[in-house]
């Protein structure tokens, strides 16, 4: 059975010569550790059709960042951040305008004509993923958006569905999530579901950061667990073996 690359050559070697079909990786770390870069590196692998769910970056910026490293940016971006703005935040802005200025009969009739419905983005994400045909590669950058806006139970239950779908259809996926933000129950819920966990860590030594890529969990391969120092080069995240 041939494995597929995670987008980082050295990490492929440290794992099982890449990862098998059906695999889900969780990348955790503090803000600014490079999780978004990792996500893009993963998305640049041209072996499956790629769908990138972005919650914080504009599509143009995301693709420009990929091109800057010379990576394949011919991917399908589903911009949840933009959709959230259009659906929820723009509505909130409108509400604050009404609350400040008051409403008129025209506003009422206008609203009656429209069919505004708040999108549940957890359901939206699950639905979008369910439509994908294998072989597919998914990036969700990041899970934090969902944990911030929805009940954790609801998010975990949707993730279980998504991961089962990925396994069943033989896709691969990478999720990013901030470290040390959530309660233990949520964290262990996510950690238990994914097949591999990679943490990005950094220490300060004098005037420099030392960066580590900690492979914390590899399902069925406990011997693969290890710590790799890495640096950011023209190739992106580059661990040294």
């Amino acid at each position: 059975m041939s494995n597929t690359s995670v987008g980082i050559e050295e990490l492929d070697k440290a794992l099982m010569n890449g990862i098998p079909e059906g695999y889900t990786i969780l990348v955790m770390g503090p803000p600014g550790a490079g999780m978004e870069l990792f996500a893009k590196q993963f998305a640049s692998v041209n072996e499956q059709s790629v769908t990138y769910f972005s919650t914080n970056e504009r599509t143009g910026d995301l693709k420009a960042a990929m091109k800057k490293f010379g990576w394949n940016a011919d991917i399908n971006v589903v911009n949840i951040g933009t959709k959230y703005y259009e659906n929820v935040l723009a509505r909130k802005l409108e509400i604050s305008r009404f609350r400040q200025e008051g409403i008129t009969m025209k506003d009422i009739r206008q609203f009656e004509k429209g069919t505004y419905k708040e999108i549940n983005f957890v359901t939206f994400l699950t639905y979008e993923i369910s439509k994908l045909d294998p072989p597919f590669r998914i990036v969700i950058d990041s899970l934090d958006f969902f944990f911030e806006n929805y009940d954790h139970h609801e998010v975990l239950s949707a993730m279980r569905t998504i991961i089962a779908h990925i396994q069943h259809k033989g896709g691969v996926a990478l999720f990013t999530m901030l470290k040390e933000v959530y309660d233990a129950k949520t964290v262990s819920g996510v950690e238990g579901m994914v097949d591999a966990i990679i943490e990005l860590e950094r220490d300060r030594e004098e005037l420099e950061f030392r960066k580590y890529l900690v492979i914390r969990k590899v399902r069925n391969y406990p011997d693969k667990v290890k710590i790799l120092p890495y640096s950011i080069t023209r190739k992106g995240i580059t661990p040294s073996l």
Binding site: K92, I95, F98, R99, G102, I103, T104, M105, I108, F111
Partner: protein
């Protein structure tokens, strides 16, 4: 003294007689009763008559969608389609206003109350509304929860409406066994008038009854009347005393 205050003629013949010519203009009247007693129908008739007399009339619906309500008035002899087209009879679903203000979390706070009152007052001012019905105030009270907030809301609505010379009916739902005129007790204390509607079982018949309990600014009869809903509107006749009830 009665003649001194301008009247809002309800158009319901006997009710105007009971009230010595109509509801004193600017009053806030609580129309209260259990379900099926004809509160909504009578309130609607009050608006339609107003609209026919050229007074812009507004129905603020909380419980029922207004297009459904409209179907109920069409069978009336005196109803004219043109009232709606000409903007003399206007329906607004209050939940739409809640949505516009983002009041979707259930309980409303004091700031929300001010916004709601201002919104109603602005519409009344902008459209020159002379008659208003809120059906029902009980549903609004459910969102307000506490007595202070209900008091605040009714007082403020009443005050701003009366400033614009608008006469309003607040429909209140109570259980048949209730000893009060409103669910929270606050509504009845602040209203300028109370019209009580009920059911009366008599010789195997279930009669609808109406009684004006209180009306500031006018003398009125406090007798109980029998109410009949007919295609030509509400008919009121005195309840004959005696006989076996």
């Amino acid at each position: 003294m009665d003649a001194a205050r301008d009247r809002c003629v309800t158009g319901i013949e006997n009710l105007d007689n009971i009230l010595n010519g109509g509801i004193p203009r600017g009053n806030t009247v609580l129309v209260t009763g259990s379900c099926g007693t004809g509160k909504t129908t009578m309130s609607m008739e009050f608006l339609v008559h107003g609209a026919l007399m050229g007074e812009p009339s507004l129905f603020l619906s909380v419980t029922e969608a207004s297009d459904k309500l409209l179907k109920n008035v069409i069978p009336y002899d005196f109803f004219e389609d043109s009232l709606i087209k000409k903007g003399k009879l206007i329906f607004i679903d209050l939940p739409v206003v809640y949505e516009l203000f983002g009041m979707t979390k259930g309980e409303l706070d004091f700031e929300d109350i001010d916004l709601l009152v201002k919104a109603i007052a602005d519409i009344v001012r902008d459209l020159g509304i002379k008659r208003l019905v809120i059906d029902s105030i009980t549903s609004v009270c459910y969102q307000l929860r506490t007595e202070e907030k209900i008091r605040q809301f009714i007082l403020k609505v009443g005050k701003s409406l009366s400033e614009y010379g608008c006469t309003s009916i607040l429909v209140s739902e109570i259980s048949p066994s209730s000893e009060r005129y409103s669910l929270y007790g606050v509504e009845e204390a602040i209203a300028d008038g109370i019209i009580l509607m009920g059911n009366l079982q008599r010789r195997g018949d279930l009669l609808r009854t109406l009684q004006v309990v209180k009306m500031r600014g006018t003398n009125h009869s406090r007798a109980k009347y029998v109410l009949d809903l007919t295609p030509s509107g509400v008919l009121l006749v005195p309840l004959l005393k005696g006989g076996s009830i």
